[in-house]
Symmetry: C2
Subunit: 330 residues, 2 copies
Amino acid sequence: MTNSGSDRPGEFALIAELFAPLATEFGAFGLRDDAAVATPPVGFDLVVTTDALVEGVHFRASDPPQLIAKKALRVNLSDLAAKGCTVAGYLMALSVPATLSIEWLRAYARGLEEDQEAFGISLLGGDTTSTPGPMTIVITAFGHVPAGAMLPRGGARVDDIVFVSGSIGDAGGGLSCLKGECASVPDDARDYLINRYQVPQPRLALGKALVGIASASLDVSDGLIADLGHISTVSDVSVCVDAVRIAISSALKSTWQDPLDGLVRAVTAGDDYEIAFTSPVSMRDAVARAAEQSRTPVAEIGRVGRGAGVMLLDEAGSEIPVSRTGYTHF
Amino acid sequence: MTNSGSDRPGEFALIAELFAPLATEFGAFGLRDDAAVATPPVGFDLVVTTDALVEGVHFRASDPPQLIAKKALRVNLSDLAAKGCTVAGYLMALSVPATLSIEWLRAYARGLEEDQEAFGISLLGGDTTSTPGPMTIVITAFGHVPAGAMLPRGGARVDDIVFVSGSIGDAGGGLSCLKGECASVPDDARDYLINRYQVPQPRLALGKALVGIASASLDVSDGLIADLGHISTVSDVSVCVDAVRIAISSALKSTWQDPLDGLVRAVTAGDDYEIAFTSPVSMRDAVARAAEQSRTPVAEIGRVGRGAGVMLLDEAGSEIPVSRTGYTHF
């Protein structure tokens, strides 16, 4: 763990102490080196991904620090899940404002520790620096996948089936609740939705089970329609989705005033961290087995076609206009 | 390349376009995936390191964007150099303030492109997000080293020789010049020192040549004395340095008013990005050959002893008091 920043060496020593127990001796050298070893096992590829979370953009200063830590880690693990990986470890670069308390950082480290245990990974190294701006967390996560088997975005073929795990739109509903927009929603629904927003569940077991089965795969972070758009663009195909087949939780439905408006919000909200994927029709049974084996609900929601773009269809087969908002991926 | 931030999708599309040519198809999938493959060759370890650079802390907003890009990349390559690695690629997470112009980012991308060519590496992926705060650059770099051969911090043994490459304190002198503290310094000396501050030269050829020869190694980023302190702490030894044997450039000397004060500044200034290392006495000739082979000046500056801490000695063998300032590593 490297620390830099001209003015607060004592505080940074304390931060280093907080994070040192999160690292193993093997590979990370107990964070006492400038670098770490992250060699994958023989026959496996090393897959890497990085995500930045900025206070005020990706999380709220008032969110519990443990949950911010977990979200920062899990959005990266979710990327690896969608690529079919077993997770292996992570690096963390923290830019810490002077206003942040050591208690906050202690709780943040505790959140990481809990998730390291939950996912069987450890901190490999990182960098802590001061910033005159907002808290900024950059995590780079490492995973392993059998050589050549990483699930790509670009492998969808015409006539493939489109699937998505879990229920869609819950995190967006949770964010609305946190913003005070869910006054008439039952408490248990509210809690469920907020938890879905604050603590994503990376679909690691499903992703691993889809290796050799899915033709294209990604995690739903920008919103279902936008993310299927990425598969469509990179695979050079179109995607048709039957709105009625998208799993929507009863909790989310309890927040809806207008069902059509609610649905459009759900498919554009983002932060779901479910896996959207395609597979050939011949793999339909294999997908069902992968879902069962990983104890993950998976819904068949549409088909891949010629052309370009994503269409959301109602029960009559008419297109539901979706104004794609928010996040953009490339 | 992932992009997120709620308000500026169009600008982020442009940023993605700027960075896409920096990525290869192989491994990085032309930045069109969420993750990249970074598997090392068989028989090699993958070494990873990450460093954050924050505007106003690690670089000045007025620094040329090409040079900021190069510095962000090179401080990471310098870490890998000191570990004995061949550099392989990097991930980049950018937090971009709304005030930053596309022209700035274009120049920044050009700086990366020039250095990718210079070092034979490419961008593997990354994340771009908006920030209400200062520009923050986090680069995670990957290198390869023969399995088990990464040069550690903790391998220095009693009686080992202490070496350092290049000249020490130049970057600190350059920063002083940029702050307007070098009024009476000749122009060419000033330019040389500023260049040493703005564009570090990672000692990759030397680091690679030291595999199997150096017992402990790190790059000098916090200041020579502080960094030797890290070797001392992690190796559980003491280090004695003869001040007179430390190479000081004539350019730096031209900025000195008091030689003793100048020397103490030089060994505590940081940002040198030279390699400080130790080796057994029996390897002295091998070190000389590694220096020659890599065309890198290397000076023998001291010895490893029992005990703890770093002592800087004058020609009479008396300790020169060094108040260790600035950056702290752990």
